[in-house]
Symmetry: C2
Subunit: 357 residues, 2 copies
């Protein structure tokens, strides 16, 4: 079946090609009854406008691109959902590309978006120690998400230091005195969490010990560290373990249990990046939820502002702050732990409404 073009529709109705184009793009310029005829023919023939052609011809597109490192972390999903919602609310579409943790691929998609006549790009870059903008001089509106960068105005990120501070304050509230922080803080995000933890620890006179292992902060790394910690003699053992990621924390719980100790009875464990996809262990994990949904929305708002020529002040992140999710891994009274709703990974809802009254 040959593709139906705008000319076919025109011929079918008996009007000219330009009129059909108008019917599609400026319906008010076309006499209602002609319009009806045209719309009828369009659906009868199954005509679908060729996007490439209409873009080439000059229509500015109403599509944003979002490049994500990978679809296996709730934070990225929150970003995607938030960006989708805000885009849609402003009449834009959102196309998402997942780089499958491959930085070459990330670059590939970025270039694709660039060439695809897209209205703007959101990027959550791969976590690396030395991140730089892909394009020194972006040719289209671009916003980098989850990137901490002093100079650049188009980088927005959640408050990782606050995440660290919160988790340590929780440790203190639990009566802990010796905290072990596990994971390699190779990336800025993690280093900031460590800083937040250390700052808060200093204020509370809690001792902090940093333990890294491996290059990738896997559950296996967490497991090994957890086991080693659990095998220490009682006096030398931390009473609270913070995983720099939930994956590490989940691994640590297993390691501790493999060594014969119990969580939370012998040691408390918490993560700090609010990733339900890592909550597959046998003990529900306490963690800090970061406001990814709001970050995605904000990113789109930045894009919109750049398009409109305005420069959004970075401060408009508003009240979207990380929040503690207290669960059994740091709670010796499980009855108190209530269910956490994750309806659409919108942090506001998922922590705001217990939904179970």
């Amino acid at each position: 079946m040959a593709k139906v073009r705008i000319g076919d529709v025109a011929r079918e109705v008996g009007v000219s090609l330009g009129t059909v184009s108008n019917a599609i793009n400026h319906p008010e310029r076309v006499k209602p009854e002609t319009l009806a005829l045209i719309n009828d023919a369009i659906s009868r023939l199954g005509y679908v406008p060729n996007q490439a052609a209409r873009q080439l011809a000059g229509t500015e597109s109403r599509v944003f691109g979002l490049a994500l490192p990978r679809l296996d972390h709730a934070f990225s999903l929150q970003i995607a959902n938030g960006a989708q919602a805000e885009s849609h609310a402003n009449g834009y579409d959102l196309l998402i590309a997942s780089a499958g943790n491959d930085d070459l691929l990330e670059n590939h998609y970025l270039r694709y978006f660039l060439g695809a006549h897209i209205a703007g790009v959101l990027v959550q870059p791969m976590a690396t120690s030395s991140w730089r903008p892909a394009l020194d001089k972006p040719m289209i509106p671009t916003v980098y998400l989850d990137v901490h960068h002093q100079g650049l105005a188009n980088c927005i990120a959640p408050d990782n230091e606050a995440q660290g501070r919160l988790i340590l304050q929780h440790a203190r509230a639990c009566g802990s005195e010796r905290v072990a922080v596990i994971g390699e803080a190779r990336f800025t995000q993690l280093a900031l969490r460590v800083r937040g933890i250390c700052d808060a620890a200093r204020e509370s006179c809690i001792s902090v010990e940093l333990i890294g292992r491996g290059d990738w902060n896997t559950a296996e790394d967490g497991f090994q560290i957890g086991r080693r910690l659990a095998e220490r003699p009682v006096g030398h053992r931390p009473d609270f373990v913070v995983g720099l990621t939930d994956v590490l924390a989940a691994g640590a719980i297993d390691g501790i249990m493999a060594a014969g100790l119990s969580v939370p009875d012998d040691m408390l464990v918490a993560g700090c990046d609010g990733n339900p996809l890592a909550w597959s262990g046998s003990v529900p994990l306490t963690t800090i939820a970061s406001p990814g949904y709001e970050l995605g929305r904000l990113g789109v708002r930045h894009l919109l502002a750049q398009i409109g020529g305005k420069e959004l002040t970075s401060s408009s992140y508003g009240h979207a702050v990380p929040k503690l999710i207290e669960r059994a891994s740091t709670c010796r009274n499980p009855g108190l732990v209530s269910h956490v709703e994750v309806p659409d990974l919108n942090l506001a809802e998922y922590l705001g409404s217990p939904s179970i009254a």
Copy 2:
């Protein structure tokens, strides 16, 4: 900064426009040193080919589109990751659109993909009772995911009946005798799970009771049902509750606990759609993981086959079968429950390798 076009590159190097085009699309046709000059100029000028133009000019695109109902279910993420991996392995890109649970939006994206000169489309349609293909005669290769449909060859779905059977077999292995299945089985997927459960129950002489509530199978629905069940006198109470979704099951656990009973001591509870994003409750949930990652890969293989003119036999889904994930909500000996890895939401890895040796 004006956009750099292919002509600018040509002028810079001192060759003709066509040569630059060849350098990009058929490098072997261009003298190596000219090629080097051209590539140099391209990066110096920051030239990015205009995708719309190249598509218009006839290059068939190497991009697949994936339309997902929403990014809040692990199944959809698995599909996306699998589809991305398989696409990339075959030299294709994958663009993902999330419909935000809005069927108008789903249609909108589908039409966009159709017009975007895309090589093929994967769709996981919104769950509805009466689903029909969006296009009676798809104009581009199209595969529907998670759709059970007799006639259509381009619909592939996981074995929902098997999921039901597996969970009931597990109930039996736990020594349960009275099973309550909770949730409204409005959609084919859920109805098939119910059928699998009932079939298996008949064989094992286990009694099954179906309890629906509400339109959306929310955690709140699960909660209310769970509480009512827990409030029944002991003899009339089921000993095993199956949520048709993990969300329902998680809600049910809270409801049961709100009524003062314990999971798993007083009642066992399981979900059956393997959704880590619903595992936010206070008791780790037993469930059935469906092979979404493999489904995504298979979908892309179908697309590839349609493009190549072959018709893939529907049977090639192979060994990708649902698997039981046994966790604390059906296990009275929590020490035995081992950690479940979800490295990249690839079911094969995530259930195959305990990773924690």
